[in-house]
């Protein structure tokens, strides 16, 4: 792999809240077209890192480039390249799936016609084309999660941030989301994916970074990480995770 294939480069990111260091010197790269998993216990600094990468939060120190643009200095250019699916269901339950998507598409700069076309296409992608006109309020948890992802695709991003996109949904919906993410990757999209489900990361991610106490403590392909503590065919990613982050409760 060459540096030219790196789509995202994070260098020595720092962020503190009220004196507590949430992110402490995190550096990593994400290659174009790969699914990069960011794992870590609660409070490890994953969401803060994503918020800095996606231009919402300004880093205290360090820099990030995405697609060759600096997040700190070229925020508008970066925002055109990225789509963000937050952990929360950041949508309007009173509106239909289609109206939600058209609204966010238009806010991103699409014309009315472009937004409608993109909404149709993305609802197709997440398997909700037949429910386009239904109010999101009436959807199941899994369907809402899929709309949440579809909204992030409205501006045709080259990189997608998915922050725990499968929390609280049934296996069928989760599997559908896996297939969607894989098809996006196959289409050339770069994905940063955070999750607490180790089997999910093992299945989807090309490489994984494990964070704890605001630091990146391990980085590599799932098989490489497993090989560090034993036979990669016998060891689970969960064992690696617990080995690295410890077994004490964090909440």
């Amino acid at each position: 792999m060459t540096a030219a294939q790196d789509f995202l480069t994070a260098s020595s990111l720092h962020k503190a809240f009220d004196g507590a260091q949430a992110v402490d010197g995190v550096s990593f790269t994400i290659r174009q077209g790969e699914i990069f998993g960011l794992l870590g216990p609660n409070g490890a600094g994953k969401t803060t890192t994503i918020r800095m990468l996606s231009t919402v939060l300004q880093a205290d120190a360090g820099d990030v480039t995405i697609g060759g643009f600096s997040v700190g200095r070229q925020g508008d250019e970066v925002r055109r390249l990225i789509g963000v699916c937050p952990q929360e269901l950041a949508l309007y339950p009173e509106l239909s799936a289609s109206d939600n998507m058209i609204f966010f598409g238009r806010m991103a700069g699409l014309s009315g016609r472009e937004a409608k076309a993109a909404a149709r296409q993305n609802l197709e992608t997440v398997g909700l084309a037949d429910r386009a006109k239904d109010k999101v309020d009436k959807f199941s948890g899994g369907m809402k999660r899929r709309v949440n992802i579809a909204i992030a695709l409205m501006n045709r991003p080259r990189m997608l941030f998915l922050d725990e996109p499968t929390v609280g949904i049934d296996p069928q919906s989760r599997n559908h989301i896996f297939e969607t993410v894989e098809s996006l990757r196959d289409g050339g999209m770069t994905v940063l994916y955070t999750t607490h489900y180790m089997e999910e990361a093992d299945r989807l991610c090309d490489r994984i970074g494990i964070m704890d106490h605001g630091r990146l403590i391990s980085l590599g392909a799932p098989r490489e990480l497993k090989a560090r503590i034993g036979d990669p065919d016998q060891v689970t990613l969960e064992s690696v995770f617990l080995d690295l982050t410890g077994r004490s409760l964090r909440d």
Partner: protein, 395 residues
């Protein structure tokens, strides 16, 4: 990327759409105020000036021609409405509470009068209105005074030997009672057609002001909820400017306020027959400025609270405190001076003062420029604070 204004208008349109999908919010903003307006208009109707004449009930127990002449004279010449009732019937009505009281001329009253002896005039009152009892006593005093004057004249003439034996029937009682003015005169001047007092002229603007601010305060809760669900942060990551979000929320709240104005004034004029006064344009300008101030007030509240629950509590508390303080529940001009002064710290107070001046006291456009300036100042100050402190995330 779209301009800030374009983004703001998209946000406002989306918020307006969501608002009109919420039946409770629509009912609360558009129908609920009318329940208050109807209730308080009914409660306050019948208050105010009433030019119907005072009615005095009298009863004569005399069956002489002189007594009848005296009664006929009073009825014919009095500026008051005199109603004659049989003594027993009048007494029964007082006892049953149907009549506050009456003045009675006992048997032998005119006889005693003409013979120069003391005559007794009886005032019978029940336990009802103190005002009615006072009116009856005043009337009886007046009659007694008038008749005493006639009696004195008659006695004087008798002493001079010019009249000889009095012929009671020869005395012109009606002239005696009617030829002189009453000690207290009521002059009622009616210019044009004076209709009954319309309480809606102050209840409707008051509740309009209250509910426009109430609805705006509710928007603070919606903003807090958006913070919680991260839609505002998502918009930011989507390229939306912070100023566009604040402006969009402001414009959206203003759309709803204008819709409230349109509905309430239209229904007010059509159904409640309210009078916008000499300058309807000034009423519209005050209304529009009040909406701008209320929309900015909603943003101010949203900037001060950190959770949905806090926003809901702050919205209700602020609305229910500022409304009475600002004269939404009763006209400020009937309150003590200190309350009128206190009202000036609220935008509600300035709006209601402006509406009252225009709709009750015939003020022209130029008479309410101070109220307009105050509302504008409130709006600008609230909006400036919101722009400074508005947060997009809950944390």
């Amino acid at each position: 990327m779209p301009t800030v204004l374009h983004q703001a208008l998209l946000i406002a349109a989306k918020d307006t759409r969501i608002f009109f999908k919420d039946r409770f919010a629509v009912g609360f903003s558009f129908l609920f105020p009318f329940l208050f307006v109807i209730g308080f208009t009914l409660a306050l109707s019948g208050q105010g000036p009433d030019d119907s004449p005072l009615t005095i009930t009298v009863s004569s127990q005399e069956e002489t021609e002189a007594g009848e002449t005296l009664m006929a004279g009073m009825i014919a010449e009095s500026p008051l409405t005199i109603r004659q009732l049989d003594y027993d019937e009048a007494l029964a009505q007082v006892e049953s509470g149907d009549l506050d009281g009456f003045v009675s001329f006992p048997v032998g009253f005119t006889q005693a009068l003409t013979e120069g002896r003391p005559a007794t005039l009886e005032v019978v009152t029940g336990g009802g209105s103190a005002e009615s009892a006072a009116a009856l006593r005043s009337f009886a005093d007046h009659v007694a005074g008038e008749l005493a004057a006639v009696q004195n004249t008659y006695s004087a003439l008798s002493l001079l030997g010019e009249a000889g034996q009095a012929d009671l029937d020869a005395i012109d009682w009606s002239a005696a009672l009617g030829s002189r003015d009453y000690a207290i005169r009521f002059e009622v001047e009616t210019v044009g057609e004076v209709g009954p007092f319309n309480a809606s002229n102050f209840t409707l603007p008051g509740y309009l002001t209250m509910f426009v601010f109430f609805a705006a305060a509710m928007s603070a809760e919606a903003i807090a909820r958006e913070r919680q669900t991260n839609t505002l942060e998502r918009l930011m990551s989507n390229g939306t400017r912070r100023e566009a979000i604040v402006l969009g929320k402001f414009i959206g709240a203003s759309y709803r306020g204008v819709a409230q104005l349109a509905v309430m004034w239209t229904v007010g004029i059509v159904a409640f027959d309210i009078d916008l006064g000499a300058s309807p344009a000034a009423v519209i300008v005050i209304s529009a400025l009040m909406v701008l101030a209320s929309s900015a007030f909603g943003l101010l509240l949203a900037s001060l609270v950190s959770s949905v629950r806090a926003a809901a509590t702050a919205g209700v508390l602020a609305s229910l405190t500022l409304a009475p303080l600002g004269g939404c529940w009763w006209p400020l001009f009937i309150t003590p001076q200190w309350m009128q002064s206190l009202a000036k710290i609220t935008p509600h107070g300035w709006a209601n003062t402006g509406f009252n001046k225009l709709m009750l006291f015939g003020a022209e456009f130029g008479d309410v420029t101070q109220e307009m300036a105050a509302l504008l100042l409130f709006g600008v100050a609230f909006l400036a604070f919101a722009l400074w402190r508005f947060r997009l995330t809950a944390s």
